[in-house]
Amino acid sequence: MYKCNTHPQSLRPHLHLQELTKQFSGVTAVQSLWLEVQAGEILALLGPSGCGKSTTLQMIAGVVQPDSGTITLNSQILNRVPPERRDIALVLQRGLLFPHLTVGENVAFGLKMRGVSRAERDEKAIAMLRQVQLEGFADRKPSELSGGQAQRVALARSLIIHPKLLLLDEPLSALDANLREEMQDLILRLQAQTGVTMLIVTHDQAEAVVMSQRIALMFEGCLRQVDTPEQIYRQPCDETVARFMGGVNFFAAEAHGRQWRSNDLTLLSEYDHDGCVQVTIRPEQIQVLAEGRSQANTLPATVIANRFTGTQRRLTLAIAPELTLQAWVTPTQDFRVGQSVWAYLPPSALWCFPHRTVPYPVQVP
């Protein structure tokens, strides 16, 4: 039942990283990393700052050499191929447009390096700018662009060379929230149009969930879980992953098959397990009811805190002397502090992993 699927078997891997390891001055940045990315897939490399995800990206791009392990793209081992001949594009956090070139020249840069004639690359650059909704910007200087526009130009500059693989290193982290959503849509639309395989590095779990088909979660240079966003969200492989994905409810229990006992309470789950476990449930999946009902996993509780965040109401519920859970309900569901309520924990939402006495190092952004 544990979803530590770090090396999924696939039929047609496009990018294949095997035992990739990198150390800087004796400090391990990436440790024996295995990863496969399918052709046309969008995979997010997610993890806290300093976990080695950008180093992994730089090794794939070829600007950092791995100490050991192999990088294979379309069955070709890339380790000894220089970056300029890998046909991989990289978009960095701030776009990094060449300041001495115009927007059009920036977009056409990769074509110029490939010896494409000026007329052809100008035509392609303008078409590419149209695709990123920057028609008419070709003659501007990068200094005349906003952050979002610069990032779109960087994207156009990378896509114009039709890369085999597009790497995006925190591409949206410098943008404000509204712009970020626009850019997410644009990137996904362009990916759908071009079918390019994409590897996105991000520390923002919401961004990873929205943008990718699969998430590879990294902690301290190691891959912890590779799965679909939904699986990683609902069925994390351990407490570190669960906390990183925004989990806040954790409690110890004794599992006997689908019956889990904790604090003199018996909970039913859809998942089988035996022994000492750490149970988790996402706060938005707990249902808070004013009236009780005779249904399994419906527990009497008292509201001990109520915080309104605009889009939701965050309730803290005291269920047993040593068991408090957070439930995030809609803003219209208003409960008083001190009010007696009923908390329903759906069996499908209760998830567990082996109990650890020493917690994982957690670094939530």
Partner: protein, 308 residues
């Protein structure tokens, strides 16, 4: 319920804008610097101009005319001197710049010692350098004597003439020794301020090492190269003591020609010397204008014809 519309802080307390300063304030702040430059250099230049057109007579007489300029420009040596000055300035500046670009690229990742090494020659006066070149490269210099001692040459006559020669090799070598560290120092600072991620980005986009240098590194060094080479060019073009002591005796560079005319036993040639000096100043000014034009031309955008 009362909604209070919050104004951005800048609307409450407008911050002083750097892009729109009060002009009179800026001019006032520039006054001390402009005053010194204006009095010392501008005053001297105006005085020279007045003398060259005869508004102030050298011997008390006053007769306004352009005779001095006519004499300067019809001087058979003028064009040859101008050509020689330009040749020395162009070759010395060009070579210094090329060598400095290479050195700066080589020393880019070197430690602080590189910048320190470049500063060693800066405080050494040109005269000391000239003496050094004479001691090393003259027919009776250290190298010539060493080669003789080794038996490679039979006499100092076999040693190539490198000082006071027609090709001005000694002058060029002296300027290279003095200016290469200066330009390298400036270019090192420029190079170290360039984010290496630009070159990395270019490499990933398919640029070979040469393409990276030509399309990214060099254009980003452009301002530093132009400004440092302009300073060096201006200095070499107007330099007197180096070509005077190490250069060819005929033709002479323009500043040497000015000096010769100014110290001529015929005191009436002074007006011509001053006119030559004014011409030299005008030429230097024209070069600054040409530089500004070059910089603004580089900043012009190439039009994408098919774009709106």
């Amino acid at each position: 319920m009362i909604f209070v519309k919050l104004q951005p802080a800048s609307q409450h307390h407008p911050a002083p804008s750097l892009t729109q300063p009060f002009p009179w304030q800026a001019y006032l702040l520039m006054l001390p610097a402009v005053g010194v430059v204006g009095l010392v250099f501008g005053g001297g230049l105006v005085l020279a101009l007045l003398q060259s057109v005869g508004a102030i007579g050298l011997l008390g007489e006053r007769q306004i005319s352009l005779t001095a300029y006519q004499a300067a420009l019809t001087n058979p040596e003028f064009l040859r001197s101008l050509s020689l000055s330009l040749y020395i300035a162009v070759v010395a500046t060009g070579l210094s710049t090329l060598i400095s670009i290479g050195l700066a690229l080589l020393l880019r990742t070197a430690g602080r010692w590189a910048s320190f090494a470049c500063q060693i020659t800066l405080p050494i006066p040109h005269l000391v350098g000239i003496v050094g070149v004479l001691l090393l490269l003259s027919p009776s210099g250290f190298i010539s004597r060493s080669l003789y001692a080794l038996g490679w040459i039979q006499s100092d006559q076999d040693f190539p003439l490198l000082v006071n020669d027609t090709a001005n090799m000694g002058v060029l070598l002296h300027f290279l020794w003095k200016e290469v560290p200066f330009i390298t120092l400036i270019l090192l600072a420029v190079l170290r301020s360039i984010n290496p991620a630009y070159e990395m980005q270019a490499q990933i986009l398919g640029a070979t090492p040469w393409q990276r240098f030509w399309n990214v590194t060099l254009p980003m060094m452009r301002t530093g190269i132009l400004s440092s080479s302009l300073i060096v060019f201006g200095y070499i073009f107007a330099s007197f003591e180096v070509p005077f002591l190490l250069g060819s005796t005929r033709p002479r560079t323009l500043p040497v020609l000015v000096y010769r005319a100014f110290t001529d036993s015929d005191i009436t040639r002074r007006a011509e010397a001053i006119a030559l000096g004014i011409i030299l100043s005008v030429l230097s000014l024209l070069m600054i204008v040409a530089y500004s034009w070059l910089v603004s031309r580089g900043g012009q955008k190439r039009q994408f014809t098919k774009d709106a």
